[in-house]
Amino acid sequence: MTASTIKLNASPEDHRIARMAALAIGLTLMEAALPSPLPGVKPGLANIVTLLVLKQHGMRTAAWVSALRVVAGSLLLGSFLTPGFFLSAGGAMASLAVLWLAQRLPEQLFGAVSLSILAAFAHIAGQMAIVYFWLIPTSGVLYLTPVFAAAALVFGLVNGLVAAHLLATPLPATVSEEPA
């Protein structure tokens, strides 16, 4: 009897997606351990990875990394298919949609910080929409909108600055083109 082997040909892009997704998942797990004053207010450090990938490898790769981060991150945190998972998936989809539009802005005027802030606002808007139209359809939740928006502005700015800094001085270990 011959041993049968299944060989999957992983392209360099697959390697890149896997590596960046692993990085994003790591940040998501770290962040889950941080205490938060209000459920839903998180720095969203994994979005830095999404921004880096978007800037360096384009929308398609960024969407893959983001989707893998949401699914695998929720599996590791045990929140797969819970409301929290749908919130994070909805937020990720909304921010990807806005990033897809925002990347057409002239690059010499709008840098990573713009993309990060816009994505953060889209993220919170997507989540509020899910909360309001599906999970808790009362206007009481909307009362917290300004808090979430303020958090989106602050964390969007910080993440954007980190991403802009990393893009200005690429770290070979995380953003190299070829797998080591």
């Binding site: 002239p106 840098g111 910080v113 802030i117 606002f121 206007s139 303020a150 600055l161």
Partner: protein
């Protein structure tokens, strides 16, 4: 450490727009009180729709006499009513969207409406 070289002109614009968005959301949700409009009806027809933000007293003429409605401190009440049982007067202050006082004998109703019309009953 200097961050200025990381921010491009458009980034400042986005940042400012974000700040304006946060401020206007805070204004809309926190300072525009939950139930803001007062609707007074007489005989089923709209008599007056007004804001709750400005204190005033409104006289509503009905078949039995005058129903007096008072607005104060972003809430409203029926101050006096010619009806025999004074139910709408005893209702007291109305402050949240959906709350209402109905002076049936004098055919006057006072209701607070919000942005979203909430349910007044649910059946299962």
């Amino acid at each position: 450490m200097k961050y200025h070289h990381l921010l491009r002109p458009g980034d400042w614009m986005v940042l400012a727009a974000g700040g304006v968005t946060v401020a206007s959301l805070a204004l809309a949700f926190w300072f525009g009180a939950p139930g803001q409009r007062l609707v007074i009806k007489r005989g089923g027809h709209l008599f007056l729709e007004t804001s709750l933000n400005h204190p005033r007293t409104i006289d509503v003429p009905g078949p039995l006499g005058t129903t007096r409605v008072e607005i104060e401190d972003k809430r409203a009440r029926v101050l006096s009513d010619p009806g025999p049982r004074q139910l709408c007067v005893h209702q007291g202050w109305l402050s949240r969207a959906g709350q209402a006082a109905i002076c049936l004998p004098n055919q006057v109703s006072v209701e607070i409406t919000g942005r979203v019309k909430s349910y007044d009953s649910l059946n299962y």
